[in-house]
């Protein structure tokens, strides 16, 4: 539609204004935050104590230790739904119309939204890490590797945010995005090595699991946290041998595809 390009500076300042607005909402409706933070706690406790005894993570590795990396990956993917739900709500309420009638940068609403949603992810990672420490998980590779693991998780979450943001602009209501994302995220996170070891998948499916980006994120943070065992060899697949690089490739790929796609959708989107 518009061929008018706005300067990167304008994108940044407009995006900041929009992000600030979203942060105010976190402050005004703390209930949302409570539920966002409770669900990872629930997942840690549920898996650690319900499945913990039944699932064998491999020789010399405690399941809780194995689990935390997976829960981290799953939670940040689920957290991305937030971006979609927020945008769907803004569409429904006509706020996107107001934004679109203003002479602001076309990408600022999306940039602002995805950026402010990083806050949710950081907070839930902190809560999960604390819960993990309580049940016996430890990061064993030093501060730098630990920080790198968290940074990778947040980067991955940011990319998925753009996918969900795109979906949020497509669907007619908030309810739809919640259900739709569930359908995508459940298989994406369960058909991965997040909760059960790779070896337990049947042959054909195992390839899918190996190349699933969620598996790569999980594998990467497990290695960075030192939650692996020498007795369990890393699979031969390139994606599993180079999980950090493979994750970064996915992040780049998702952003290259979904940033322009979402901005385009924002420009043509119509409310209600």
């Amino acid at each position: 539609m518009s061929t008018t390009r706005t300067s990167p500076l304008r994108v940044a300042t407009d995006g900041w204004v929009v992000a600030k607005r979203n942060v105010i909402k976190i402050k005004r409706v703390p209930e949302i935050l409570v539920f966002v933070l409770l669900s990872p706690i629930m997942f840690v406790l549920l898996f650690a104590y319900v499945f913990g005894g039944a699932i064998d993570a491999g020789a010399g590795l405690d399941y809780k230790e194995f689990l935390i990396g997976g829960i981290f990956a799953q939670t940040v993917v689920f957290g991305a739904t937030f971006t979609g739900a927020g945008l769907a709500e803004d569409m429904q309420k006509g706020i996107i119309d107001r934004f679109r009638s203003l002479p602001m940068s076309r990408s600022a609403v999306l940039v602002g939204r995805t950026t402010s949603d990083i806050i949710y992810n950081v907070l839930s990672l902190v809560i999960m890490a604390l819960t993990g420490l309580l049940v016996g998980w430890r990061a064993r590779e030093g501060v730098l590797d630990t920080l790198a693991a968290f940074a990778l998780l947040i980067l991955f979450a940011y990319a998925i945010s753009w996918v969900m943001g795109y979906i949020g602009l497509l669907v007619p209501s908030v309810e739809v995005i919640n259900n739709a994302s569930f359908l995508v995220i459940m298989p994406l996170t369960f058909v991965s090595n997040a909760f059960v070891p790779l070896e337990s998948f049947p042959n054909g499916l195992r390839t899918v699991v190996e190349w699933n980006p969620v598996s790569a994120v999980t594998q990467a943070v497990r290695e960075l946290f030192g939650n692996t065992s020498a007795a369990v060899p890393v699979p031969d697949a390139w994606s599993m041998q180079n999980p950090v690089l493979y994750t970064l490739i996915w992040v780049a790929l998702i952003l290259v595809v979904f940033v322009p796609l979402s901005v385009r959708q924002y420009r043509i989107a119509s409310s209600r």
Partner: protein, 327 residues
């Protein structure tokens, strides 16, 4: 005087419907155009095209001399839009809402903040300015939304059904706010399904139905379309309706209408309405008919719409609404 809005041959089609079927609009600087029509007539679609939210399938439009298709950003910098559904963020306070809009118009923090306080004052919202707007009444939200459209003091204002769903008191308040704005020289395009609203606020009125213009003119011109004045009398005793009709027959131009349900008789008069009314009163007294109410009635825009389309303006409110709001 330049034309601040000029649209030519706007066409917009959806899967099953044609929302606009070749609409022309012209709004000279400093005037108010009322776009009047029932739900689904295409009002919102026209507004969305002029506000750069929607591309027309055919036709062209200029706002403040700028082509909406070639330079939408330029148009956005010169319009203020207030939509049918108050698009304020309910979690933000009134002040935060307005400040945010100011910032997004590219104002500095200080300027946006000062402007926000200014507008809250002007719209009698200063006391509520630091409360989340979710606590506001419908009328207050609408005023806040309108204030949002005025943040950058745009030369062209587009209001899409600004009083739909408001109670009568809030509607009156809204009207007086809008009249003040217009007296400051702002050019206004106003859509409404309330004929009274168009009559009160608009200099010119375009009546549309099914995406097409069906009439255009000032309120007075449209009213004269439907014929002149009539005398309407309501009798105390419905049994005397025929007597009343007989009494009015002497002054009526054409047949006297009887409405038993409303206990009223209506007689069209050709000229000198006041004189005819006096004659009619005398005739009714001679006949000994007791009256509850009598008066000279000028046709309302409701009558205009009925004459033009063969149905009342708000008849088909629900069935076509979904199509319109989807636009």
């Amino acid at each position: 005087m330049a034309d601040m809005i000029r649209a030519t041959g706007l066409v917009k089609r959806y899967k099953n419907t044609t929302a606009l079927a070749g609409l022309d609009l012209v709004v000279p600087e400093g005037t108010v155009l009322g776009l009047l029509g029932p739900n689904g007539a295409g009002k919102t679609t026209a507004v969305r095209i002029l506000a750069t939210l929607l591309r027309p399938d055919e036709g062209s439009a200029e706002v403040a001399g700028i082509d909406v298709l070639a330079d939408p950003m330029g148009v956005r910098a010169r319009i203020g839009l207030s939509g049918q559904y108050a698009a304020v963020d309910e979690h933000l306070t009134g002040f935060e809402n307005l400040e945010m809009v100011g910032r997004l118009y590219g104002m500095s923090r200080q300027k946006a903040s000062a402007r926000a306080r200014d507008l809250l004052d002007r719209f009698a919202l200063s006391d509520a300015g630091d409360r989340p707007s979710k606590t506001y009444s419908g009328g207050m939200r609408r005023r806040l939304d309108l204030a949002g459209a005025l943040v950058a003091e745009p030369p062209v204002l587009i209001l899409d059904e600004p009083t739909t769903g408001l109670d009568p008191r809030s509607r009156q308040q809204m009207w007086s706010v809008i009249r003040d704005l217009v007296s400051d020289g702002t050019t206004l395009l106003l859509t409404t399904q309330y004929l009274e609203e168009a009559d009160l606020l608009a200099d010119d009125i375009v009546v549309i139905d099914q995406g097409k213009e069906i009439a255009r003119g000032t309120a007075d011109e449209l009213k004269s379309h439907t014929g002149g004045e009539r005398i309407e009398a309501v009798v105390a005793d419905v049994a005397r309706l025929d007597d009343a009709a007989r009494a009015l027959a002497g002054v009526a131009h054409g047949e006297v209408q009887r409405d038993a349900a409303r206990r009223s008789v209506t007689a069209a008069v050709e000229d000198d309405g006041a004189g005819r009314l006096m004659q009619a009163l005398q005739a009714l007294r001679d006949e000994g008919v007791e009256l509850l109410d009598v008066g000279l009635r000028r046709p309302t825009l409701d009558d205009v719409f009925l004459t033009l389309t063969g149905r009342a303006a708000e008849d088909d409110a629900s069935d076509s609404e979904t199509e319109e709001v989807r636009s």
